[in-house]
Amino acid sequence: MRKSLLVAALLVLGSFGLAQVKIGINLELSGRFAAIGNQTLNGIKVANLQTPEVLGQKVELVICDNETSREGSIACAQRFVNEGVIGVLGAISSSMSIPAAEVLQDAGIIMISTSSTNPQTTQIGDYIFRMAYTDDFQGKLAAAYVVKDLGAKKVAIFRQIDDDYSYGLAGFFDETAKKLGAKTLVQDFVANTVDFTAQLNNIRSFKPDAIYYSGFCAEGAPFMKQLREQGFDQQVVGADASDDPQCPEGAGAAFDGYIFTGFATPNLIPDPEAKKRAEAFKAKYFEVFKDAKPGDFNGFVLAGADAYNVLVAAIKAAGTTDVKAVRDALANIEHFPGVSGDITYKGTDGTPKDRTIGFYQYKVKSASDWTKIELFGKSTAEVQ
Amino acid sequence: MPEPLLELKNVSAYYGPIRALNQVNMVLYPGEMVCLLGGNASGKSTTLKTILGLVQVGEGEVYFRGERIDPKPTSYRIERGMAVVPENRRVFPKMTVRENLEMGAYLRNDPTGIKEDLEYVFSLFPRLEERLNQMAGTMSGGEQQMLAMGRALMSRPKLILMDEPSMGLAPKLVETIFKIIKSVNERGITVFVVEQNANIALSIADRGYVLQTGEVVLEGPARDLLNNEAMRKAYLGEV
């Protein structure tokens, strides 16, 4: 009698422990995108500290490192399907997010990619969401800036052909640039390329006025180094993948003056209320991570936090941990007060309405002495 | 009777679980020429490898120049005065004749002595002097045999171990080689020859041992072995 009572008591207690809300995290924590992945994770962690519970239950974060590889991302997604999480936050890049999305959509699990910008990701299904803007906006805005504001008539475009994000983004840029009357020349490279001298030689006679780089910092650093070495002094414009300390740390002064688009930091968020929330979050971030450097905080951190916040909000709104109900609640979210801005999923395919894209510039004295300057922000609502 | 140069006391050797040598007892005195006979897989090569240290002794002891050497590495035994002419010659194919001979003198550092020995080798094998810069791998079997012997002599050894020097050579050449072996022995170098060709070996050696499945079945002066009934039937009848 005593024994079974004890067992029953343990079971009851245990079920309290089991009554946890599990959220999976699929991020690039090692490999080429490790810096961005870890920044995003930090954002999620701070948000989790601020909101550790929902519906009276503790939120458990299950972290999986996809090692910046498709296979790793699929493995993480599979693992989360088996563990029965409500939703998965991540991945960073579209190349990792798209395969994971296919697995999770099939299994009926929510996915919120924190920074995938390739339009295809959310088109995979109604369980797939994102926190970022899409590349059609990013590419259009960048092209308009380069052709109209910088006055470039010829633009050389460097894209990473085996990456969905880089390839797609370059395509959007190219399309818009041509529409605006500029001539373009595209050069390809693949992941882990370190030598760009041949591609650079190919664009010599083209004599571009500006260069657009749609890739990541692992290749971007040697690219910029060789660009300057080989005598090219044109203005280079990059995209949100360049919003990564590995760029200036990797190539030093070669990145001085480099302009790029990226996730909005608090200052560039036009909505004053959102700006206040972002500043407050920033303060909290540096409180938690006392030894963090200023360059460690950027839009990726905010995106991570908001992905967490918006999923928790959806669970709360649904009033249950039933995944379908949470998904419906998520899809109906309007004007959620996020730290990266106002978030509305209602009436979209999973991409938030009216995101802000920031323009930044690196000022680099040396690899250990650099800053990121905020130029201005533009809303995706402004772009046709 | 002088001190033995080489002595095997109750030596057993194994390849894994297989016993290749069983309680073998042998002795060599300085200046002797002794041959080791037997059929295929009788343990002849294993005996040589055990003496050299390429195969570990399972039971028993090996003594060289009065010192127990079975726990010592091969390089030590070479240093103490052993040299070997391996089965199938095994010259270094992509090194020249000169370099092969130099490898024989690897452990020495007396240039004058080395030069003397080189002259001696050339006197035995004038062909080698002619082809000093030829790649060893391009030479004929007989020439390689001469090179292998010359290489062994270059360490100015006390004991030369030879593994089947007649293998794959024409009979005329075999005769020449064994004459040379005899002359080397007459210079005072102890020679231990493992041979399939019992006839020629016994015609030159002082004594012989006969191995069968890892055990010594016959031993004695060469003349006695030549006249032995069992020997004639088993080994001397064959070519």
């Binding site: 030598d195 030689n201 692992a218 590995q246 990797g250 190539a251 | 390429l54 490898m103």
Partner: protein, 387 residues
């Protein structure tokens, strides 16, 4: 394979390759009027720069194979270690004296022990002098100087050489009698192990290797109205590779230990019968091979400006490819293979820009062709065994 046959085969191949190259060049010039002479020269210099880096990495690879018939898949990781040693040597110095002392004792002690066994320095007097040199020198350098790239390079070469010897002792020597496949598997395992250890110890992030040296100052010269660009790497790496090739050749043909290495490569058992200490020879081989890898690693890092724990993966595969194409076991073959690889990479992108994503594919296709039709490589020895 006689020397003359070898020469005629490589001449034939060179002729064929040369003709093919000239034909492609001509086609390119004809189809692209803007492919001026200056651009031709630029491509050529770029190819030489890249190719000589690959050649340097391939040298160490082929050396180990030549002696013990082991394809050391962990060579790329030794290369990575070399870069990191140099990186830390440059960024952590001058060190706090306590840390310098600790590092000196640990590192210096290991180096001393390894060098003693490598070069038979049993004599107490010699050992004492060497110890003085190593400990004193290391401590001085670590605690008082901000190490520049040359000092870091030399220190790294020494440290990495020792690391290579340790790797051999721990991972490969125990398997010396085992079937060839076991050694291969261990080599692959060692490669993964070192990659992951690297990620653990050094952090997974890509770090900038910013040595503002005379090597990576941009330089240029004019051809007509255009300018051709290059950096000091173009001069230094081929020069260093040529010198190393020459010195290595001298070493293996003229010195006692070098001949012992060649003998061991051809017949390890008989070499032992000559009194050669095969363990010492093999350890020495890894020492030299790893020194080469470290030199290559530092040059590579200076050229491309960054390091990360997985940086050895691709260069390791390419070095392996280069070594096999040239003839594994042959030192000049490794250099030839490396140069060839560099040229293929650059010229594929130059001649066929739309195929630039596939530039590595061309190199690997060549590897497969070589393995199918001429497995001994372009200048290689006759292989009796295919690994």
């Amino acid at each position: 394979m006689t020397a003359s046959k070898l020469a005629s085969r490589s001449t034939l191949f060179s002729l064929f390759a040369g003709l093919l190259f000239v034909a492609l060049l001509g086609w390119r010039i004809a189809s692209m009027p803007d492919y001026t002479f200056a651009r031709i020269v630029q491509d050529f210099l770029n190819a030489l720069t890249l190719g000589s880096l690959y050649a340097l990495i391939a040298l160490g690879y082929t050396m180990v194979y030549g002696i013990i018939r082991l394809i050391n898949f962990a060579h790329g990781e030794i290369f990575m270690l070399g870069s990191y040693f140099a990186f830390y040597a440059m960024t952590l110095t001058p060190m706090h004296w306590g840390l310098a002392l600790l590092t000196t004792v640990l590192l210096g002690g290991t180096v001393l022990l390894v060098l003693r066994s490598l070069f038979n320095l049993e004599e107490p007097k010699r050992t004492f002098l060497l110890a003085l040199l190593i400990f004193g020198g290391t401590f001085f350098l670590l605690a008082f100087r901000h190490l520049g790239w040359i000092e870091a390079l030399l220190l790294s070469m020494l440290a990495t050489g020792v690391a290579g010897v340790l790797l051999e002792a721990v991972a490969y020597r125990p398997l010396r009698g085992a079937p060839r496949e076991s050694m291969l598997i261990t080599a692959i395992a060692a490669s993964f192990f070192l990659q992951n250890m690297g990620q653990l110890l050094f952090g997974p992030r890509v770090r900038g290797f910013n040595a503002e040296t005379v090597l990576n100052q941009p330089r240029s010269f004019a051809i007509g109205e255009e300018t051709v660009y290059f950096t000091g790497i173009l001069i230094v790496v081929p020069a260093v590779t040529a010198v190393l090739l020459f010195v290595l050749n001298l070493f293996v043909t003229r010195t006692r230990l070098g001949k012992a290495m060649r003998a061991t490569a051809q017949d390890a058992e008989v070499a032992q019968m000559m009194g050669v200490n095969v363990n010492q020879v093999i350890a020495l081989t890894f020492f030299i091979g790893s020194i080469l890898a470290a030199a290559a690693g530092v040059m590579y890092s200076i050229r491309f400006g960054q390091i990360h724990p997985l940086m050895g993966l691709m260069p390791g595969i390419k070095a392996f490819t280069a070594a096999v194409i040239g003839g594994i076991g042959s030192l000049p073959g490794a250099v030839l293979g490396g140069l060839l690889l560099g040229f293929i990479e650059i010229y594929v992108v130059s001649f066929f820009p739309t195929l630039s994503a596939y530039k590595d594919v061309f190199a690997f296709v060549l590897l497969i062709l070589i393995l199918l039709f001429r497995p001994s490589g372009l200048v290689g020895e006759d292989l009796t065994e295919k690994v």
